[in-house]
């Protein structure tokens, strides 16, 4: 498992999600802290491409050996792509939470929502 890290180029939501903003699109995933709390991820049940995400609402489920957890949307938008690689390698969420462990890509419906998210140092500070 990777060491704890919170990259500076990402935005963070209090429910332990990250967003990599690219214009009016974003890639979403869960933070190092979230995957560490979950333990070994064994299943990710993605939303359908085309479905709508609402900021602060659950949009998918992620399962560790022991438990099921909701994944909360850090931003609102429409799903344009889901990480198909996780169906064979769900452990990527643990091993590379900001890279191969990404969950979905969305087209943002309200770019101004990004301003509500935390930067890396604020998020990391919220964990202690």
């Amino acid at each position: 498992m990777a060491a704890a890290s919170y990259p500076d180029d990402l935005k963070y939501h209090a429910e332990h999600d990250w967003a990599r903003i690219d214009g009016d699109s974003a890639t979403l995933g869960i933070t190092w802290f979230a995957q560490d709390q979950l333990g070994e991820v064994v299943y990710f049940d993605p939303p359908a491409v085309g479905s709508a995400l609402t900021k602060d609402q659950p949009y998918a489920e992620i399962e560790s050996v022991k438990a099921v957890s909701d994944v909360v949307a850090p931003l609102s938008g429409e799903v344009t792509e889901v990480n198909e690689g996780l169906s064979d390698s769900p452990e990527n969420v643990n091993e590379d939470p900001y890279g191969d462990g990404w969950l979905v890509k969305i087209k943002l419906s309200d770019v101004s929502e990004v301003e509500d998210l935390m930067d890396a140092s604020s998020y990391e500070g919220s964990l202690s």
């Binding site: 498992m1 333990g39 070994e40 064994v42 299943y43 049940d45 399962e63 050996v65 022991k66 099921v68």
Partner: protein, 355 residues
């Protein structure tokens, strides 16, 4: 305000080993150290050691000890030989299961191991049922620690630390282990692997833990304990066993000897003769998803345990199913939080070394 969590004599060992500690049945217990999968695989392939000191012990002694246990326990206690181990259930009058337990006969006394979540209620039940019997009941929970050393290399590890020969399966021996006197070594376990359980005077538990881990047993937590037991279809009280279900529907008729007249025997006999409406059956998920405890089965029934199986690589579980659907090979559908998931009823155990 919640009561403070109890800690086992090995608490500082768990902290030092980097365990993730969680509340479990009133105890602060390690759910995992390195990771559930690694610990699971260590037990299947080599050896792991579990701290199960949260499990309770009730000691029964006195002239009527055997007659009393024959009354409360479902199995035939007269068949339990000195130094032997016997599995049974504790039933209420209507046959509902209060607990499932191992009892050991040690000379003129018996030691009965309880589930942590049931220890206090079991003790109260024993005391209530003991009226009219000349027995002494002693709560040994805090006197005794319990370590389960399990896996193909487990016996070798413990044998190298013991001053005598280890007992066979379902037998016990009182030995000196890692310099600690009076360790009850039991040829029992909850993983489907060979191994032993060590019932140790509490003060000696850290020395035994240190010796066993230094000899190669990997610390394993309750997370791996659950995946290991479910792969071999061992019941977990509170999941697969409860007061609203009887031993016949749970598939535990083999440890019920109604002719002994145990509490609940009439109800158990009636259930055996009429056949239960529902039966506990193992299943494998054949498509996507992981069924979990509480998920309803379409057409009737309910999942009581479910997980991703580390050894098999697919999701497994156990469910109470209408009797006609409980045959191996039957396709079932499970409502997993609003999504229909497909599964197939399998035979016990779901995992075995040969497969």
């Amino acid at each position: 305000m919640a009561d403070a969590l109890q800690r086992t004599p090995l608490h500082d060992r768990h902290v030092a080993a980097g365990a993730r500690l969680v509340p479990f049945a009133g105890w602060e217990m390690p759910v995992q150290y390195e990771g559930i999968r690694a610990e699971h695989e260590a037990v299947r392939g080599r050896a792991g050691v579990f701290d199960v000191s949260h499990m309770g012990e009730i000691e029964t002694s006195g002239p009527d000890a055997e007659a009393f246990l024959q009354r409360v326990l479902s199995n035939d206690v007269t068949k339990l030989k000195d130094g032997g181990a016997q599995y049974s259930v504790l039933c209420q009058d209507d046959g509902g299961v209060l607990d499932d337990l191992f009892s050991y006969r040690l000379g003129d006394r018996f030691l009965t191991v309880t589930n942590a979540s049931n220890h206090e209620s079991d003790l109260a039940w024993f005391r209530k049922q003991a009226e009219g019997f000349d027995v002494e009941l002693a709560d040994r929970l805090h006197d005794l620690a319990m370590l389960a050393v399990q896996g193909p290399e487990a016996r070798g590890i413990v044998a190298g630390l013991a001053d005598g020969e280890l007992p066979g399966r379902f037998k016990t021996a009182t030995l000196t282990v890692a310099g600690q006197d009076g360790v009850l070594v039991c040829g029992t376990g909850y993983t489907g692997e060979d191994g032993v359980e060590l019932i140790v005077p509490a003060a000696g538990a850290p020395a035994v833990w240190d010796a066993v881990t230094q000899a190669g047993a990997q610390p394993a937590g309750l997370g791996a304990r659950d995946t290991l037991r479910l792969e071999v279809c061992f019941h977990l009280y509170g999941n697969d066993l409860m007061t609203t279900r009887g031993p016949i529907e749970a598939g535990l008729g083999w440890c019920c000897k109604e002719d002994t007249g145990f509490v609940g025997a009439d109800a158990v006999r009636a259930a055996r003769e009429s056949g239960p409406a529902e039966k506990l059956a193992p299943f494998a998920v054949t498509g996507q998803g992981i069924a979990r405890q509480g998920n309803p089965v379409l057409g009737g029934g309910e999942v009581t345990s479910g997980t991703m199986s580390p050894s098999l690589g697919y999701a497994i579980g156990m469910a109470y199913l209408p009797a006609e659907k409980a045959e191996p090979g039957t396709e079932i559908e499970i409502d997993v939080r609003g999504k229909v998931r497909t599964a197939e009823v399998r035979s016990k155990p779901l995992y075995s070394k040969e497969t």
